[in-house]
Amino acid sequence: MIGPVLDGVAVVLGLNLLLCLVRVLGGPTGRDRLLGVLLTGSTGAALLAVLSVSTGVPALRDAALVMTALASVVAVARLRAETEEP
């Protein structure tokens, strides 16, 4: 019973990923685009977690964990580069 629900949720989350693209392409500043990356990262992590349960592959939980943890590294890279460059 839970299977179709999870599949539907996966489709909805996938559409959300595409919607993020509007902000990524629209900008206007680099930080706005970066927000798109952050939201994409956590949406992707949620999607992987859903797939790990619906397909029964436990390794996808690790992928979700890694994706969440490293999404903030991209943001930190942006912030430190902004600090260092005039």
Binding site: M1, I2, V5, L6, G8, V9, V12, L13, N16, L19, C20, V22, R23, G26, T29, R31, D32, L34, L35, G36, L38, L39, S42, T43, A45, A46, A49, V50, S52, V53, P58, R61, D62, A64, L65, T68, A69, A71, S72, A75, V76, L79, R80, E82, T83
Partner: protein, 115 residues
């Protein structure tokens, strides 16, 4: 048997609610007018969405280890998105001067930063 069914229904409700919050957050990111309001949409709706999805999945996880790992995903996402949002709403990754330098454009934050 009926307890299992109840658990499945609860899990489905939580996951669907989480997906709903993700959608709200994404729509907010697209529709809201400037960086700080977008940050607001992103952090709140996004954390709640991830949290609800994770809670729903924890009920289906099967083992304690799997459940804990799913919860760790959420616990990792919460401080990360809060801190990153805070830093991005300031003038830059700069120190105390960064926030004040950007102040005048935005009344609420600028007043607090000026003091």
């Amino acid at each position: 048997m009926s307890a299992g069914l109840l658990l499945e229904i609860l899990s489905a409700v939580l996951v669907v609610a989480g997906a709903g919050f993700f959608t709200v957050g994404t729509v907010g990111l697209v529709r809201l007018p400037d960086l700080r309001t977008r940050l607001h949409a992103l952090t709140k709706a996004d954390n709640l969405g991830l949290g609800l999805v994770v809670l729903g999945l924890v009920l289906q996880a099967g083992s304690v280890g799997a459940a804990v790992k799913l919860l760790v995903v959420w616990f990792l996402a919460m401080p990360a998105s809060a801190v990153v949002a805070h830093l991005m709403s300031r003038g830059g990754g700069l120190g105390a001067t960064g926030g004040a330098a950007e102040g005048p454009g935005t009344p609420g934050e600028g007043g607090a930063g000026g003091r």
